[in-house]
């Protein structure tokens, strides 16, 4: 530690500097204020001992100048003075002195004062350093927030939120919003809307919106139903969100072909269908997303008939919990009441709800994200959205064929059905009705695996015990499987409105007596409850129902089906 002594008296300087050197300090000395300022800049001392009365420039003036030069660092100044003149002492404090030392100097007191001020200056300098770091962090954070917000906005808004039939009020409490609203046009017509409210708000709450919007938009674009989407969203959020974080959400599909509204509601309190003279609550029947395991999750949707210009009203609990100056909440009752209000033709429902809410809360500050959406089921408009949307790739039925081989070890871990669906949608877009096709493929694969490779006997499934036994056997045999393969081939012959798919499944198993099943099926096209092939026969009859033709080879290890499809997108 370096100390600057400022005193015009040589004796004093010598005595002080002797004391300080003895205690291990580095000492520099100046004879007056001017010299002190020069030495201060040159030597950068950590502490100054300053006499008051000096020629050229006194201690007060020197102190003012030095303190004004040290705004970013604390340099303690101790005045050397006789503790007799109160005016002089108060002047010392005024000009920025940090302590006094009276003459004659006492070594112990001198050391104690220096130590104390050294601690203060360390503290000050640490705080100053931290403050500087904090400021630079804040600047960085603000920049990062801005970038993140741009990323968020571009990720969350590829849908059709800006469509004319969607009125939206979003008022986030902070830069990021725990509320999420997504809307997208289905490739086959109609709208998907997701209204969500993550636990908490701010950045942490909005992070979950990334996987959510990803699943919502990509699955909607691929033609999945809201059941499939809500299941996948739940699975993904359960897997990716930390415990205690989840998403209250309401998914709505406006199906303009069948004129129905399908919805799945998990803990969104303010969801309604406004049908002009009646209002139906889209009740929550589920837990929020991201809580239940896939096996315990229900993707069941409710269906309500709709008419042109019916309106879907969605709001997050921020509206219901909005408080007025007396601490009263807006509440579900006021909310539904204002939906029932008879409106003049020039006021729309959306604006009316916001007006009522504003009147209620007045100037009260928001405590949660307040989000309100009103979606009008304007059939013509939604139709028009779909045709705009068709700017996306036009698929035409084409000639193609692909073959897949799965060997025993791959079979244990791969489900070929979604894989085939994926390939199909890459080639033909969403023209092929994948729900039926998926069922056919699943049955074909199960038959090849269960009977062909694993040699299981379906007839045991006719009793409940046998049913359980069948699946237990299946699992253990699949585990032990160490040879064999399944060959899958899918070929398309296009025609004007679609195509014929030739689907072949061939397994390396022993096959079966084909004549038996052919006979059986010749006499029964529907499922015969009394048949011993009650469970096992179902698959084949389903395939026969959906396919134009089903044929086995003589040895029974190869099945060929022809499935005719018509273009879904026209």
């Amino acid at each position: 530690m370096k100390i600057l002594i400022v005193d015009d008296d040589t004796t004093n300087r010598l005595v002080l500097s002797a004391y300080l050197k003895k205690d291990g300090y580095t000492v520099v000395a100046a004879k007056n204020g001017v010299e002190a300022i020069e030495l201060f800049q040159l030597e950068e001392p950590d502490l100054i001992l300053m006499d008051v009365m000096m020629p050229v420039m006194d201690g007060y003036e020197a102190t003012i100048k030095i303190k004004s030069m040290t705004t970013d660092k604390f340099i303690p100044i101790i005045f050397l003075t006789a503790m007799t003149d109160e005016k002089a002492l108060s002047r010392c404090v005024e000009v920025g002195g940090d302590d006094f030392l009276t003459k004659p100097y006492n070594r112990v007191i001198l050391k104690a004062k220096i130590d104390a001020l050294e601690r203060v200056s360390q503290l000050y300098n640490t705080v100053y350093e931290q403050k500087r770091e904090l400021i630079s962090h804040q600047i960085n954070e603000a920049k990062e927030h801005e970038v993140a917000r741009k990323v968020f906005d571009s990720i969350l808004n590829p849908g059709c939120l800006s469509s004319d039939n969607i009125q939206l009020h979003l008022s986030p409490m902070s830069l990021f919003n725990g509320d999420v609203v997504l809307a997208a046009v289905k490739p086959t017509g109609g709208l998907h809307i997701l209204f969500g409210d993550f636990t908490g708000h701010g950045l942490a709450a909005s992070l979950g919106a990334l996987p959510l919007s990803d699943v919502f938009y990509s699955m909607t674009a691929k033609g999945y139903s809201i059941s499939d989407i809500v299941r996948e969203v739940n699975r993904k959020l359960k897997q990716q969100l930390p415990t205690g974080m989840f998403l209250a959400a309401c998914l709505v599909e406006i199906d303009i072909i069948n004129m129905v509204l399908k919805y799945w509601n998990g803990a969104i309190p303010g969801a309604f269908l406004h049908k002009g003279n009646s209002i139906i609550e889209l009740k929550s029947k589920n837990l929020p997303l991201g809580i239940l395991d896939d096996s315990g999750f229900s993707d069941k949707v409710d269906i309500i008939e709709i008419h042109d210009y019916d309106r879907v009203i969605l709001s997050t609990d921020g509206i219901l919990e909005a408080e007025n100056s007396e601490g009263k909440m807006f509440g579900a009752e006021r909310f539904t009441e204002c939906l029932h209000d008879k409106l003049d033709s020039d006021v729309d429902l959306f604006q009316h709800i916001l007006n009522v809410l504003d009147d209620f809360t007045q100037e009260q500050e928001q405590t949660d994200d307040v989000t309100l959406g009103v979606i009008t089921c304007d059939i013509n408009y939604i139709n028009q959205l779909v045709s705009q949307k068709s700017a996306f790739k036009k698929f035409v039925p084409t000639h193609w064929k692909f073959d897949l081989y799965f060997f025993y070890d791959a079979i244990k871990s791969i489900d070929p059905v979604p894989l085939i669906n994926q390939i199909l949608s890459e080639i033909q877009g969403h023209q092929v009705q994948q729900d039926k096709l998926s069922m056919i493929l699943t049955e074909l694969f199960c038959n090849s695996l269960d009977h062909g490779l694993l040699g299981l006997d379906s007839s045991v499934k006719s009793t409940p015990e046998g049913f359980m036994q069948f699946y237990a056997d299946k699992e253990s045999r699949l585990n032990e499987l160490d040879s064999g393969s399944i060959f899958i081939s899918v070929k398309n012959e296009p025609h004007e409105t679609g195509g014929n798919l030739t689907i072949v499944f061939e397994d390396s198993g022993k096959g079966f007596d084909v004549s038996k099943i052919e006979d059986n099926n010749a006499s029964q096209t529907a499922i015969d409850e009394s048949s011993p092939l009650k469970f096992s026969g179902r698959g084949i009859s389903l395939i026969r129902n959906y396919c134009q033709s089903v044929t086995y080879n003589d040895t029974g290890n190869r099945i060929e089906c022809i499935y005719s499809w018509t273009n879904n997108e026209t």
């Binding site: 004796t11 010598l14 005595v15 002797a18 004391y19 003459k103």
Partner: protein, 109 residues
């Protein structure tokens, strides 16, 4: 205790060879201050009288020369509002005590 020998001994111990320099500087500076005081009292310069007394008060205190320091303090204080009538006597007192201190300090060399 007109002279605190502990202070002087401690300084001698701490400063080693520099102690001699300290003493000779004090003796010559002290002499200068006393000459200055004489002149300022003769010319009735209150401001200067107070300042020189103050300086000698400080440096003598630091060497444990308590009696000398007290005499300087009396002069400084009495000169707060005009030159005191007994200024010459007070100066006489300072000179005596300075000479005593000088003898003792010189012995320590």
């Amino acid at each position: 205790m007109s002279i605190d020998l502990d202070v002087i001994n401690e300084l001698k111990e701490i400063m080693g060879d520099d102690f001699d320099e300290l003493i000779s500087i004090f003796i010559s500076d002290g002499q200068t201050q006393i000459e200055n005081l004489k002149l300022s009292i003769q010319s009735s310069n209150v401001e200067d009288t107070r300042r020189f007394a103050h300086t000698l008060k400080g440096s003598s205190a630091n060497l444990g020369l308590n009696a000398l320091s007290e005499s300087c303090m009396t002069l400084e204080r009495n000169a707060a509002e005009g030159l005191p009538e007994d200024a010459s006597e007070l100066l006489e007192n300072i000179i005596n005590r300075y000479n005593t201190a000088k003898e003792i300090l010189t012995e320590k060399l």
